[in-house]
Each structure stands twice: as structure tokens, then as C-alpha cells.
């Protein structure tokens, strides 16, 4: 997958089928009702119950609406993806006005994958990965792939066309070390 700046936003090309599957799952991850994800995306804010109830009634409701509109934004951009000629995968354009929404959505999707797959902090830092199941390894790879997109959207990196998938794996591990 490559990424490049255009006049109107960020373009991603040569999106491989596995990466496409991960991207297309982002809107679903944003709206999952799994309690592990809900707990992380709508965390307890106050120590006192009465304060927390009030917070959830006001701020919690507004956040739910925001996340729903963000899901629509991501879904819309994904629906507008085009096929590149000669079987070179898909092409995604993220307009500048959508970058902030995408960054947050990608963060939410990464957090959701982490929670849904019962991942552990040391695995994010590349340690003790021998204890991971195949499903957890796949989830971690997806988390790193989405981090790659975030890194590009943050303006920290561009990706040249024709990067090999092996390069992508290496870069993904690199970004995990920068995970907080």
C-alpha cells in the first residue's frame, strides 16, 4: 500500500485484500455493542456515582451521536473507493475535512480490536508474543495496519508506491514501539 498527499487530502493506493478487509471493518468496530468495547469507548469519568450518572446523561449522549456520525463519514469514504487498473487493488481518498474524523475512528477501531481480542499491553510492545493465539496475532496485525494509516494522516510519514507487504510488516512493528 502506498500513501500520498494530494491537493484535497490523503490518497492510499494498492490496498491489498487483507488491508481492505481491515478497513471495511472499521465502521462495524465503531458501533459494536460488545461491553468490553463500550466500556473503553465510554469510560467512567467521575468517581462518584451521582456525578457519573449526570455525565452519562449529557456528555455520554453527545459522544454517542458524534461516534455515529463519524461512522457514517468513514463508511462514506470507503464506499467511494475506486478500483485501480490492472488488478492493483483499491484506491482510497480521505479528504482533508475528514482527516480528524478518520484519525479518531482509526483510534477507536484499534482500541476495539484490542478489547475484543483480549490483547495484553506487553504484546503491543512486542514482548511475550509466544503466548498469543492465531486470532490474537491477526488482531494485532490489524491494529498495526490501522496505526500505519494514522501515522500517515498525522503527517508523520508517507509511503512510496510499490512498498512490499514485508516492508509493511516491518513498519507496523516499528509503529507499535511508538504506541502509548
Amino acid at each position: 500500500m502506498w500513501a500520498a498527499r494530494t491537493d484535497t487530502g490523503w490518497a492510499f493506493g494498492d490496498i491489498a485484500p487483507e488491508a481492505l478487509t481491515t478497513l471495511e471493518a472499521v465502521p462495524l468496530l465503531l458501533t459494536t455493542r460488545d461491553p468490553r468495547v463500550v466500556e473503553r469507548l465510554h469510560p467512567e469519568t467521575y468517581a462518584e456515582d451521582a456525578d457519573e450518572r449526570e455525565w452519562r446523561r449529557h456528555a455520554g449522549e453527545e459522544l454517542r451521536h458524534l461516534f455515529a456520525s463519524r461512522e457514517e463519514l468513514v463508511r462514506g469514504d470507503l464506499a467511494r473507493m475506486r478500483e485501480l487498473p490492472a488488478g492493483r487493488g483499491k484506491f482510497l481518498l480521505i479528504p482533508d475535512a475528514h482527516v480528524s474524523g478518520w484519525l479518531a475512528a482509526l483510534n477507536a477501531a484499534r482500541l476495539a480490536l484490542y478489547a475484543l481480542n483480549d490483547l495484553e499491553p506487553e504484546w503491543m510492545a512486542g514482548k511475550e508474543r509466544e503466548r498469543m493465539s492465531a486470532q490474537q496475532r491477526m488482531a494485532l496485525a490489524r491494529i498495526h495496519l490501522l496505526a500505519e494509516l494514522q501515522t500517515v494522516l498525522l503527517g508523520e510519514r508517507t509511503r512510496e508506491p510499490h512498498s512490499s507487504s514485508a516492508d509493511e510488516d516491518e513498519d507496523a512493528d516499528e509503529s507499535s514501539n511508538a504506541d502509548e
Partner: protein, 97 residues
């Protein structure tokens, strides 16, 4: 955001007291969120310079939490909501007198 019409005298008194005391906006570490993203959010939400945003981000990373802002409850809630909108793990704590 936190004040509302009506409610018992006790509730109103409690709110009046808590509105008067400063609150800390606290961001907690999580193993997933990118450091560069946290820095960007701090700059965007609070208007902090990059150096200050990075210092706070590193405090979160190394110490597990950082008080990123202190002040009136209403503004603290606005900031907490904005940080949670970006999925930073954020809580509000009353400053102990």
C-alpha cells in the same frame, strides 16, 4: 453541561460547592493509542504548544497518568468530553483542598 434546573436543595448545594472548587482533567495511559496522536489531540483541544503537549504525553506514557488541565468544573467537563471524543482515557478529579 453539569448544572440543570430543578433538583433537590441538597443536590443544588453539592453542585454549587463542586462548581466552585477546581477540577483536574486527568489523561491515563493505554497501550494502544499512538503517542503522536495523543500529542496532536493535546495541541488541538487545549491549544498547547508542541513542546508542552509532548511533555504531557510523555508524562502519561511514563507515569501512567497526567493532569493535563485544572480549573472550573464546567470547562473541565468540556475538555474531558473533547478528549474522550478522540478516545483518550480521561477522568475528572476534584482538586483536594
Amino acid at each position: 453541561m453539569s448544572s440543570r434546573p430543578g433538583g433537590s436543595t441538597e443536590t443544588r448545594e453539592r453542585e454549587k460547592t463542586s462548581l466552585a472548587r477546581p477540577w483536574n482533567v486527568v489523561v491515563h495511559d493505554d497501550p494502544v493509542t499512538l503517542m503522536a496522536y495523543v500529542t496532536k489531540v493535546f495541541m488541538q483541544v487545549f491549544g498547547y504548544a508542541k513542546a508542552k503537549a509532548e511533555r504531557l504525553m510523555l508524562e502519561v506514557h511514563h507515569q501512567g497518568r497526567s493532569i493535563v488541565w485544572t480549573g472550573g468544573r464546567e470547562q473541565a467537563e468540556i475538555y474531558a468530553q473533547q478528549l474522550q471524543a478522540h478516545h483518550l482515557l480521561t477522568t475528572l478529579e476534584r482538586v483536594e483542598s
